[in-house]
Amino acid sequence: MSNGEESGPANVRAIVIGHGDFSAGLVSAVDQICGMAGRLVGLSMMGLTPEDIETAIRAELARTGAHVIFTDLPAGSATLAARRIVKGDASMVLVSGVNLATLLDFVFNTELSPSEAARSAADRGKASLIVVERS
């Protein structure tokens, strides 16, 4: 997928999971903009039970060594599953409400710890939400 760097589990720093094709779309957008999709793994929770969602996230975290989980809705099943994972592992970080600006900030911040990178990304994502109206 990525044009700009090698892909593989060792490069992955975060799991992105959400409704429908949300995560695939976001990861694809990251790739189009900066070619760094290899730092993310997108998962869909379509058709999965809550237990299967948690299992899928845990499997990807174990496979890649990633410590950050991005989810779409705070009320979503993926967020609830991620909360369970974070509760049991202090090295994991969850960011819910992810958008494209969040992920773009995250993939560039490779020198920061997972927690620091997640906080920076969340701040950037929040700041990217603006309302423009004709004055």
Partner: protein
Amino acid sequence: MGIHLYRIDDRLIHGQVVVGWGQPLNARFLILVDDLVASSDWEKELYRMAVPPEMDIYFADVDTAIKEHARYAADPRPGILIAGDTESMHRLAKGVKAIGSVNIGGIHHRAGRAEKLRYIFLTPAEEEQLRALEASGVEVTAQDVPSARAVPLSEVLAGASK
């Protein structure tokens, strides 16, 4: 007002419930009927954090929900009641005669379950519980989101709409 939707959904509180149904129904409270969740402070806190500030959430095991149902139904605000499985909803409906209809919103794949709809998989025991629910006078349909067609139980069990 009171309870506008009785829903069976194994994901309990999630986007389809809070946003998909909650917004068009203008739901202001949720009742999560689940014996396991009701017995765990951690589980209750987990689901409480998933609910937007304008919604209240109440937790009850099935027996408590039966006892408290009249109070929920008399609430002046619109609300949604969610049970995580067919057995809980069947028990609830046996104890509460006021339930007129039940929505099956999502029962996902697990060993021993057969696919009936894209979002509904059932064991033979679960099929029987739904048949018994309908036989008791409750209308049972499957509908994941408000814009979808409400599929009658007979059609669900026949697997005709897969």
